[in-house]
Assembly symmetry: C2
Homo-oligomer: 168 residues x 2
């Protein structure tokens, strides 16, 4: 409800590696978040908004307790559930992603509805880049010069036996 004329998603570029205008990346993320929450009729409350800002500022994956420490310094919450709830909200609404390999969280590079994503995680500098899960991202990795050493692919859902009994 602010700068509603925010572009969908910058380039389909790989956000995370190399240099970029970080301030802009933050304001963009926030304004997109406003729009997404408005559209989904959910509230981007102060805590949730601040956690998103923290992730956007961090420019790396942050653990829940890292986020919590920052919140605590600002008097916005000091107990684990506060951080976990806000992070859960952001993930559920497609504004952030959980990185399973790191037990950590990153702001989404192209926020919108909840979506799958693929990540490239540098073991040397900790940079995390989000890509579209097209192909298997090997192509993407080659394109940007990322050297894959290990790959996690995990799908959760319903197995052939359980699909029939699907109620939920």
């Amino acid at each position: 409800m602010k700068n509603d004329a925010t572009p969908k998603t910058p380039p389909q570029a790989i956000v995370g590696f190399g240099k970029h205008d970080h301030a802009q990346c933050k304001t963009h993320g926030l304004s997109r978040a406003e729009a997404v929450c408005a559209a989904a009729k959910v509230q981007l409350t102060p805590v949730r908004r601040r956690v998103l800002e923290i992730l956007l500022e961090a420019h790396e994956a942050l653990g829940a307790y890292d986020v919590l420490a920052r919140l605590a310094k600002e008097g916005l919450g000091s107990k684990p559930p506060v951080a976990y709830r806000a992070l859960g909200f952001l993930v559920d609404n497609g504004l952030a992603h959980r990185i399973e390999k790191l037990n950590a969280y990153v702001a989404c590079a192209h926020p919108g509805e909840a979506h799958d994503a693929a990540f490239m995680i540098c073991r040397a500098c900790g940079a995390v880049a989000e890509a579209e899960p097209r192909g298997m991202m090997k192509r993407t990795a080659v394109e940007v010069g990322f050297q894959i050493e290990s790959l996690v692919i995990e799908a959760e859902g319903l197995c052939p036996d359980c699909v029939p009994k699907a109620s939920l």
Copy 2:
């Protein structure tokens, strides 16, 4: 029931869903493990062997502490590091995989050198099936009737900035 009794890995069957000869699947896994360890000149010690058996018997992903509890009942170790070391050994040698989404471990469906794998995890019954990470596994999922609800793709390695400084 895709149990041809060849010493090599069965075709590219999806192990994990449906019924199969589980006893055989265990003996097969163990004999493959012997071969792999011999080839790699590493020792499949009693604890390591037993942990692999436990995973093969379980037919589902087990947490480290689940494994540890079983070991403890048999007097093979009772402290976390014992389980984590054995699991680490199995993973390093391509005999088991860690499932990040579950913080759990499964026996490899086609043991050999360390390799990447793709997994389908049923949220209803807990079954875990291993597949080749070809394409992005969406095709595989459709073929076997697995209904994907969420997908994790995470590559770890070296980013474009860090590749040049690569020493290791």
